[in-house]
Symmetry: C2
Subunit: 351 residues, 2 copies
DNA sequence: CTGTTAGCGCTTTCAC
DNA sequence: GTGAAAGCGCTAACAG
């Protein structure tokens, strides 16, 4: 039903080859003919069929970004940075959201693969399944850049920040303030291999010779083993769970800022003051962290820089596929931002 | 380079047609042959080329969602609802972000058009250019559903909430609290035709016989005529601008909750208390509104319901293209949520 | 149940 | 400068 190249050609009294040249601004076409063709395009409302053109030319101008948690400002900022950079170079960025389950993540990646997208940025939590899916992509020589994760063994560019050290810094900060019962909210202890900021927490706890109590690491729900991503709701239920403990924590490190805000809300609802009764640290340093009252102590990572590097690497691979560049593994630094949600432990602070 | 249907067929000792039947689970294939083909698919790492299949079959399973401001939790919630619903019916949702400028919005829509996506949900601010772009889509019989906007004259489904009435309710609430100098932050007065919540504000102001002062409607920057979308930053600079006025407003209605938070931050930085010195109302009722301190008075709109309806309409049109259904124009209600950021005007409130 | 065949709409040599 | 022709990888009759 939509008009084709041939329809346009017929109307302009020429052939498809010429119309293609005009539409793609490739090859020489006389000014006269060009004008005729352009008029025909307009009159017919011709919109090229990308399926045909990608099929034939094997060149796509679409870049896919796969994110896990769309509600995380951090993920969005990354995606938007990639979008802006890609747009400058003539690429359109489409975002595929993986939501909670791994299956949907795989299907999003596969859709981009089927479409033969020019390249992909993958910014989800690592899983074996998605690692395999990504390897399938690279086996077909589709450029992929990993964001916030990396794939051992494979020659794939990755950009991330040192989350483990970030988690360590956050926890050490609490320890230095005198806290001994420090909880982690947003993942269960079994996930420590994938959630590196939890590893950093464990590092710091071990270093200070504090007992690593499993009941102080909560995923947010008693039923669930721990969510793939952690949100405000995770923080809220996680904190509630901690408050039911016989010996409550005096400080809580949340997996991300959203989670931290959920934690704070739960604490307040139970009459706990932050930071007087309980200190709270977040992670990511989203815009809101600075603005909240009290401002959130958190770990900041250079989000825009990560997006920028990812886009740069990806576009480079797309535009110069044969250039044999060593796979890059960039790890940027995290910084602790001390604000108002943490305070020195007050002994016998009950009322 | 990636293996094709024919490669798989060769390896399995059969033909492309059979492989296609196996891969798409269409038509009958003996269990034996099916197994052979599936093995070949796996061994070769075959991933079907969607370009070829869409080109041939004229059926796509991709749905596009076009949003303006990715950083708005409201837009994300909409997109995610559509995604979830579409996934249930076997469609994959890709999100195209339009960022600030109209040009990028047009290009995103066109990319989906070129890809011959199965259908589109467009949730950006209305502009003439995008209206035309959308009409091109529907001219080619691609189903489109508009979210939060509508297109007069065209037979296109649309779902939105009554923003105008929402803006009216918010403003009337402030008036009832005794405020007379009420500002709007997030758009300039010239945009009142597109930003219906600003129209609602003007309705209420007129109804109360308050002077409609143009200097009380600020876009966020003195230089810019008003941003396409309004964010925290818009609110911050907008409030600063208002605070420089000789007669400051005693209440501020922000175009959305993000903006309201920016406004509140600016007020605090200037030593103004909320709500004692200035009342603030937002719009959208994002999750954070409830949680902030003070909790934000705002206008709530049924976001999930809008996404759900949009997806339902779109999927219906996609799956039953010939069913002659009247275009639907759904307008849902907004509700005023009175919380802690608004208070009765205190006369002579200076210190 | 499986193979043969004819394109889908476009790009891209290669001639003229 | 422009056209003719071949074919990208797949689907969908139609035979058999």
């Amino acid at each position: 039903m939509p008009p084709t190249l041939t329809d346009v050609a017929r109307r302009a009294g020429t052939t498809g080859a010429t119309v293609s040249r005009v539409v793609n601004a490739s090859g020489y076409v006389s000014a006269r003919l060009r004008a005729t063709v352009e008029a025909a395009v307009r009159e017919l409302g011709y919109v090229p069929n990308a399926n045909a053109s990608v099929l034939k030319s094997r060149r796509s101008t679409t870049i896919g970004v796969v994110v896990g948690d769309l509600l995380s400002p951090y993920a969005i900022e990354l995606a938007d940075t990639v979008r802006a950079m890609a747009a400058q170079r003539g690429y359109t960025t489409l975002i595929g959201s993986a939501s909670e389950d791994v299956a949907s993540e795989l299907s999003v990646i596969e859709v981009f693969h089927r479409q033969r997208a020019a390249g992909l940025v993958v910014a989800t939590l690592p899983t074996e399944e998605s690692d395999r899916e990504i390897e399938r992509l690279t086996a077909h020589r589709t450029p992929v850049v990993l964001l916030g994760r990396s794939l051992e063994g494979a020659a794939i560019d990755s950009v991330s920040a040192d989350f483990r050290r970030g988690g360590y810094l956050a926890t050490r900060h609490l320890i230095e303030l005198g806290h001994r019962r420090i909880a982690f909210v947003g993942a269960s202890i079994e996930e420590a291999d994938r959630i590196t900021r939890l590893r950093g927490y464990l590092d710091a706890v071990a270093e200070a010779n504090l007992p690593a109590r499993a009941d102080l690491v909560v995923g947010g729900g008693e039923s669930t083993p721990g969510p793939r991503y952690s949100t405000q709701a995770t923080g809220y239920t996680g904190a509630q769970q901690l408050l039911r403990l016989a010996s409550r924590p005096t400080a809580i490190f949340a997996r991300n800022d959203q989670t931290a805000f959920g934690v704070i809300q739960a604490l307040r609802d139970q009459g706990c003051r932050v930071p007087e009764d309980v200190s709270v640290v977040g992670f990511d340093d989203i815009a809101l962290a600075r603005q909240a009252v009290p401002a959130l102590t958190t770990v900041s990572q250079p989000t825009t820089e990560q997006g920028r590097l990812a886009a740069e690497f990806l576009l480079g691979r797309i535009e110069r596929p044969d250039e044999p560049v060593e796979p890059r593994r960039i790890v940027l630094e995290c910084r602790l931002m001390v604000r108002g949600s943490t305070a020195r432990l007050r002994r016998r602070a009950r009322r």
